[in-house]
């Protein structure tokens, strides 16, 4: 019989620990599908963050290590110094990357580190139970902003792609979302492009995924995807900010 679909061998055959409607599962899958399609699973080394995705190493079928909170880019820089020929990536959420790890991501980009960062932006702290993140939208409710984030109290949400795109050695910066099959295909193309550029050793590569967190937002999964398209994408435009010809 002809096989028309098989799960990627880049994912371990276990159930994930993520909530229904969470975007982590899709993001994991397309990244690992890309690595499999490139024949790169055996030469990939990944770093997982603190946050919900600390569990990613149970699901991503490659060599991995956990990170202290926010420091995944520093850890990947260390791995890269020992293994210049491997494919290295970090997978980080918005609390991890945009708050406590803001220095490490900026300096990894600034040095043009030859690894790829996959950034899951769901505008909230997931694992700790829905606190405000640097990426939480104005008016969005969080357990540390119960009436919604205000500019007066917490300033404006941080746009990470826009910030990194000002750094010369961040040679590939793209924001994608995971709200429908067409967007998922676009996201996968961005992952492949980032990995192409990493393998060409051109500089730092970065893909941001606008993601849903139905549990902490308090929305049903389908409504959460709508909220990504209508609210998040309005503030965080889905587009390529920077690329390089190979």
């Amino acid at each position: 019989m002809k096989t028309v679909f098989a799960p990627t061998s880049g994912m371990t055959p276990v159930d994930t620990s993520y909530c229904p409607g969470c975007s982590h599962g899709i993001a994991h899958r397309i990244i690992m599908e890309c690595l499999e399609e490139r024949g790169a699973l055996g030469r990939a080394i990944g770093v997982v963050p603190i946050g919900c995705a600390i569990n990613a190493h149970h699901f991503m079928n490659v060599d991995m290590c956990e990170s202290t909170h926010g420091r995944a880019p520093a850890i990947a820089a260390g791995i890269r110094r020992v293994h210049p020929d491997k494919l290295v990536f970090t997978y980080q959420g918005d609390g991890d990357l945009a708050s406590i790890g803001a220095a490490e991501i900026v300096h990894a980009a600034h040095r043009g580190e030859k690894f790829t960062t996959f950034f899951i932006n769901n505008a909230i702290y997931g694992m700790t139970g829905g606190q405000m993140a640097p990426t939480t939208l104005i008016g969005q409710r969080a357990t540390t902003a119960v009436d919604g984030r205000t500019v007066e109290q917490a300033g404006m949400p941080l746009r990470v792609c826009e910030m990194l795109a000002t750094i010369d050695m961040a040679v590939f910066v793209e924001r994608v979302m995971l709200t429908n099959p067409a967007q998922v295909r676009r996201a996968k193309a961005a992952v492949h492009k980032a990995l192409d550029i990493q393998e060409a050793r051109k500089g730092f590569t970065f893909v941001e995924f606008l993601s849903a967190c139905p549990t902490n937002w308090g929305y049903a999964p389908v409504d959460a995807l709508k909220w990504v398209e209508e609210k998040m994408a309005a503030y965080y435009p889905v587009k390529n900010f920077r690329t390089v010809e190979l």
Partner: protein
């Protein structure tokens, strides 16, 4: 082999290179700046990688990544920088990854000063990290001993899969002494790493199965088992890594306990006391953790006073009292970090303490 005259910090860096160090990560902080400076031009020549980190937080985590993927890693810093590295060091203990860290310590607290100090005794022996973890700490008394310890500690770190700390101080970092450098061991080629370190994350092509280096254990029973396993290692370290030197304990009336720079001043004070007819000796802990409690079994019946001599407010005093177990009186001679007493000052204060404890 012939000796060369070298500044401490440069000799320490060279010792790491000769031990086969693949990666060095550091952030500028006085009084250890000659180490990253030396590494920046010498380590690449030996086939290694130098990277100036954006902070000590980044440096220790770069070290973790490089070591987790199988590289021999050396980091150095000074006291406030070590405070910033503590979270990382605790994590690395939990993740069971080897590395060697050198603290060229200075006075504190806070920014403190940049002169030599020993006020990191508690920071290095107890750790500033959360949770139950231990890091072997060695305190050399001179440049040669520090060079030899750095060279050896890579093997200890890898044997135990744990960080190892070396506590020098600004005096040793900044002074020059003749030193015999050990031979080059060479850096392990990247394609041989997984043979030497089958646990390392080198990509699944290079080893059986899949390697994951982690610290999180959500189930309390699993976490407890892990901590118990770590403590089996630490119990072995207490047996295998406890080191000290004893000097003139026989017939000694008074015995100093001192490490690092302070032990050199005490050695001078012992001679000066001898000229005045007072027999003095010294226990010099080389390992600060594990602390050499056993050394105190060598105390002679003639000894009626043990003096903890330190460049801090008496941080080692607790360990000394615990080791003495009330057998004799315990006193303290100290100056705060940054101020180093003369050997004559030590003599005068010893005479006063002897008078007081008559």
């Amino acid at each position: 082999m012939s000796k060369v005259l070298m500044k401490g910090n440069e000799a320490f860096a060279e010792a790491a290179i000769r031990a086969g160090c693949k990666c060095y990560f550091g952030y500028p902080i006085t009084p250890q700046n000659e180490i990253p400076e030396y590494m920046s031009h010498e380590l690449p020549k030996a086939g290694g990688a130098f990277l100036q980190a954006e902070s000590e937080l980044a440096a220790v985590n770069m070290a973790y990544g490089a070591a987790a993927s199988g590289g021999r890693v050396f980091i150095s810093t000074s006291s406030p920088g070590l405070a910033l590295m503590q979270e990382g060091l605790g994590f690395i203990c939990s993740a069971e990854v080897p590395l060697v860290a050198l603290n060229v310590s200075r006075g504190g607290p806070g920014v403190g000063g940049i002169q030599p100090g020993q006020a990191d005794y508690i920071q290095v022996t107890r750790g500033g990290y959360n949770g139950d973890a231990k890091i072997p700490v060695f305190a050399p008394a001179g440049i040669q001993e520090c060079v030899d310890l750095i060279y050896e500690c890579f093997d200890i770190a890898e044997e135990y899969r744990n960080p190892v700390l070396i506590l020098a101080d600004g005096m040793m970092g900044q002074m020059m002494e003749p030193v015999e450098l050990p031979p080059h061991k060479g850096i392990t080629p990247v394609d041989k790493i997984s043979q030497e370190k089958p646990w390392a994350i080198t990509g699944t092509d290079s080893h059986e199965g899949r390697n994951v280096i982690y610290s999180l254990r959500m189930q309390p029973e699993v976490l407890e088992k892990h901590v118990e396993k770590l403590f089996e290692k630490y119990a072995r370290a207490e047996k295998e890594l406890t080191r000290w030197n004893s000097l003139s304990l026989k017939d000694a009336e008074v015995v100093f306990v001192a490490f690092g720079t302070m032990s050199r001043l005490c050695a001078e004070a012992i001679e000066l006391l001898g000229e005045r007819g007072i027999k003095a000796g010294m226990i010099r802990p080389i390992s600060l953790w594990p602390f050499p409690d056993k050394a105190f079994d060598e105390l002679d019946k003639s000894t009626r006073l043990v003096i903890s001599a330190e460049l801090n407010m008496g941080q080692m005093l607790y360990d000394v009292k615990n080791a003495v177990q009330g057998r004799v009186e315990v006193g303290l001679i100290n100056r705060t970090g940054g101020v180093v007493p003369s050997s004559l000052e030590i003599v005068e204060r010893t005479l006063k303490l002897l008078e007081e404890t008559k």
